[in-house]
């Protein structure tokens, strides 16, 4: 058992890697009632082209299969997983992202039993043709629910503008057509390839005894048979820095139009400390240029071009990355103009130290607030680990950023050839 102390935050993390490759991390929290756990595989919607385990040629699987698999694993036993956890006063859930599928547990009692159940239901799947067919109706309704959601549609509209080939442009749940092609055999192929313990991470946060939990998991894993771990070979798509489309308009039945400006990451292969620093800087930059305390936001708000839905974010996973700026607006063209001008102005003038200090303070505060949440810690720690970073390096990294670092990234990321705009409006 390894032990890492984070003195500034007054937290300790215990960890262990078992012989089958599974890594477990435990963050004991005093005074908390809830124990929260995530059992995550490094497998998401973008992993659609790969060598199945034991095969010597790659396959392309139907869109939405990682998400479909998540649904089936949650319902693979005769008695629903939700009911089985509820009998112990606990609840389970799951989500699929571009690069991860996570199964979550939330419990205030029967912790050992619940952790065992989490491991077992994920590691002992059971699919039948009938159950696979039955799930299609449910997922179809999930897809339709998102079809009615303008922000979700806008996000994937923007990603389609950005990417020519990369599967990040494909909706995580797939389409009604694509999910109807999925078979039991497809699900087992993906499961066998990506759900090996060597490709998974278990994170537990709550009032637990780390030694006892680590032993509990060891015994649980020893009882199960797994093949030897093999390196997973994913086939990456051909994607350069140029956007697929530099602008588009989407029709959608809404009264208030939406506008989004996106930038595609030119070098999306960063990992580890390099990625951590890079993404921190981008978040700082976006806040400097477009945060609620910025000149651009004030100008757009005062003129009535934007309201408080105006926001921005940056996503970067191995192989793809993008920033998005925008929100509801009655004057999309004005917003696009001011966003462009703001970026140009920042490129021309030196960034003020006092502004950087203000934004860094803000980022430090929001990180402290975020780590109040066990869910945030478990999910983000896993994401950071899968990208060879440490979540608890965020504070020291922020504290050491300089204006020089920030200016460098400003010129790297915000390029015209990697920019796109999307307007969503009524017919």
């Amino acid at each position: 058992m390894k032990e890492i102390k984070y003195n500034q935050l007054d937290e300790v993390i215990f960890s262990e890697q078992y012989s089958n490759g599974l890594e477990v991390f435990i963050l004991p929290k005093k005074g908390f009632h809830k124990t929260f756990a995530t059992f995550t595989t490094k497998y998401g919607s973008v992993d659609n082209h790969f060598f199945p385990v034991g095969k010597d040629s790659p396959i392309i699987v139907p869109d939405g299969i990682a998400h479909f698999l998540e649904h089936k694993i949650l319902e693979s036993k005769k008695n629903g997983i939700f009911q089985r956890f509820a009998k112990q006063g606990a609840s389970a859930n799951a989500f699929t992202s571009f690069t991860r599928t996570a199964y979550t547990l939330s419990a205030t009692s029967n912790i050992s039993k619940n952790i065992t159940m989490l491991l077992d239901f994920v590691q002992e799947p059971y699919f039948t043709d009938d159950l696979v067919e039955k799930e299609k109706g449910i997922i179809e309704q999930e897809i339709k629910m998102y079809d009615d959601n303008p922000d979700w549609r806008a996000r994937f509209g923007l990603l389609e503008n950005l990417y020519k080939n990369h599967p990040a442009k494909i909706d995580i749940a797939g389409t009604v057509n694509s999910i109807n092609q999925i078979t039991k055999e497809d699900l087992y192929t993906c499961y066998d390839t990506f759900y090996h313990p060597n490709n998974m991470l278990l994170f537990i946060v709550g009032s637990v005894n780390p030694e006892a939990v680590i032993k509990l998991i060891r015994n649980n894993q020893k009882r199960k048979k797994f093949r030897e771990p093999k390196e997973i070979i994913r086939i990456s798509s051909n994607e350069d820095a140029k956007v697929n489309r530099s602008s588009s308009v989407m029709k959608f039945p809404i009264q208030i139009p939406k506008v989004f400006i996106g930038y595609k990451e030119l070098n999306p292969m960063r990992q580890g400390k390099g990625l951590l620093k890079y993404e921190m800087i981008l978040n700082v930059l976006l806040e400097l240029m477009f945060g609620k305390g910025s000149q651009a936001y004030e100008k757009m708000y005062d003129k009535g071009h934007v309201d408080e839905t105006f926001t921005f974010d940056y996503t970067n996973e191995k192989g793809f990355g993008f920033s998005v700026i925008g929100g509801d607006s009655r004057n999309p063209e004005e917003v696009i103009k001011i966003v462009n001008e703001t970026i140009d102005n920042f490129k021309e003038k030196a960034i003020k130290k006092e502004d950087v200090q203000r934004v860094l303070k803000k980022k430090i505060g929001s990180f402290l607030s975020a780590i109040n949440s066990p869910q945030f810690i478990a999910n983000q720690f896993t994401r950071y680990r899968f990208n060879e970073m440490d979540l608890f390096d965020v504070l020291p990294t922020l504290e050491n950023l300089t204006e020089k670092d920030i200016e460098k990234v400003l010129h790297l990321h915000f390029c015209d050839e990697s920019k796109t705009t999307l307007v969503l409006k009524k017919n």
Binding site: Q8, L9, G31, F32, H33, E75, G80, F82, Q83, F85, A86, Q88, G89, A90, S91, A107, T108, S109, K136, G137, I138, I139, E140, Q141, E142, K144, M145, D147, D148, N149, P150, P253, I254, Q255, I256, K292, G293, S294, Y297, E298, Y301, D302, G304, D307, E308, T309, D328, R330, V359, K361, K362, I364, G365, S366, L368, S369, I371, N372, S373, P374
Partner: protein, 427 residues
């Protein structure tokens, strides 16, 4: 966890001294009876107040001040609760021990909050008219965009139809068509009345020294608050002769089915916990009847749940379904209602529902907002109680209590958001 409540100058102060968070949370809740004629004007107030104070004359200045305070956050919101209209201001600040340059942020945030609520930017004795005009525009946009979210749309329409003859039918943000008629003077008059007549509750959760905070609050919030508790506890005497059926048609991909029940039971009732347990069996969790039957057995829906409004005696079931399944879905939901009323469930179901509710309550104690919510419920209830009392009351609920409570439920309105006839007819 202990919450100590006291009165400072007529303001109700609720303190929870707790050391497990990395932040301190503050919430000011201003509560006044719903009044149909001023609902829109009142909804504008928090946004005008956030638009500028005598010390920080515009939004940007306030936002910059917050950023400087290590990204202190400040959110305001307007909502309805039973027969009350509620304005909240919510702040979160970093706990000083985690900052590399420790500063005490609590006093300065209370000053800022006070400044925002009591010292707005004034022009000719009333609110600054340019701020009012700006915020009118934003409010209008906020109201319109609420209807762009089709789930929200269905919920708002259900309430509008169900409570046609009560002020409760109006959205908390007010009516779009009334916004234009507001001006700096009229809104200011509503604001002055609010200061005089509303009940003020201030919640603080974090590692604090109780005595220090009390005198701090007494000094900063030095105004006398003259709230006299006008009981507007509502007794639902509506007789339901026939279930109202309402259908709208819009461009949607999925039908939204919302059903409103009157439960004739509110949080002020001694046996309210029985209603909670009944709802937990009915639809609150993924282990409840609605989820098992509508989703797992019939594959009709992806999301389906029921929610209580504890101060209004309202229960809403919600789901998204294929347009053709409307009648079947209504039938299944009603079958679950009848099963509950006829006692067609087991003692084990009751135990499971109770342990889920208890677990949820304990989990709430792990977040600052959860603790504030528990304190608000004590205020709503009219007597102070702690989490252990609540758990005890849940534990005491019997199967008969659940049957008794469910038998009071009366289905009032079935609302269905259907699609426009652009393809073949659904029914």
């Amino acid at each position: 966890m202990h919450i100590s409540s006291s009165e400072q100058n007529g303001l109700h102060l609720h303190l929870c001294n707790i050391d497990k968070f990395k932040t301190t949370s503050i919430m000011l809740m201003i509560k006044a009876p719903l009044q149909e004629d001023i609902i829109t004007a009142r909804a504008l107030i928090p946004y005008v107040l956030n638009g500028g104070t005598t010390n920080y004359p515009n939004r940007k200045q306030i936002r910059k001040k917050l950023d400087e305070m290590y990204g202190a956050t400040l959110y305001s919101d307007v909502h309805k609760k039973g027969e009350y209209h509620i304005i909240t201001f919510e702040m979160e600040i970093s706990a000083e021990q985690y900052l590399s340059t420790p500063i005490c942020l609590l006093e300065s945030s209370l000053h800022l909050l006070h400044d925002i609520v009591y010292n707005p930017k004034i022009e000719n004795g009333v609110f600054d008219s340019s701020i009012v005009e700006q915020e009118k525009r934003s409010l209008k946009q906020r109201i319109i965009s609420m209807y762009d979210d089709k789930m929200r749309y269905a919920s708002l329409r259900l309430i509008e139809e169900m409570f046609k003859n009560e002020p409760y039918h109006i959205p908390a943000y007010g009516r779009e068509e009334e916004v234009d008629s507001l001006n700096a003077l009229t809104v200011y008059q509503v604001y002055e009345k609010l200061l005089q007549n509303a009940r003020f509750d201030l919640f603080i959760v974090g590692e604090v020294n109780e005595n220090e905070i009390k005198s701090m609050v007494q000094n900063i919030f030095s105004e006398q608050h003259n709230y006299s508790d006008i009981q507007c506890n509502f007794t639902d005497e509506q007789n339901i002769d026939e279930v109202k059926i309402v259908q709208d048609k819009l461009d949607v991909e999925q039908g939204k089915l919302f059903m409103g029940y009157r439960t004739f039971s509110t949080i002020q009732d001694e046996n309210y916990e029985a209603t909670r347990v009944a709802n937990a069996i009915f639809g609150r969790f993924p282990s409840s009847k609605l989820f098992i039957n509508l989703r797992e057995k019939e594959s009709l829906a992806y999301f389906t749940l029921s929610q209580l409004e504890s101060n209004k005696g309202l229960l809403i079931t919600m789901t998204g379904i294929d347009f053709n399944n409307y009648k079947y879905a209504v039938q299944i939901i009603r079958e679950q209602e009848y099963a509950l009323k006829n006692g067609d469930f087991t003692e084990a179901d009751v135990d499971q529902a109770k342990s889920m509710l208890i677990s949820q309550l304990l989990e709430a104690c792990d977040t600052p907002l959860g603790i504030i919510d528990i304190s608000i419920q004590a205020v709503d209830r009219g007597f102070s109680d702690n989490v252990n009392d609540q758990i005890r009351r849940i534990q005491m609920v019997s199967k008969d209590d659940v049957i008794h409570s469910a038998n009071k439920w009366d289905l009032d309105t079935i609302y269905f958001l259907n699609r426009n006839e652009r393809r073949e007819e659904g029914e």
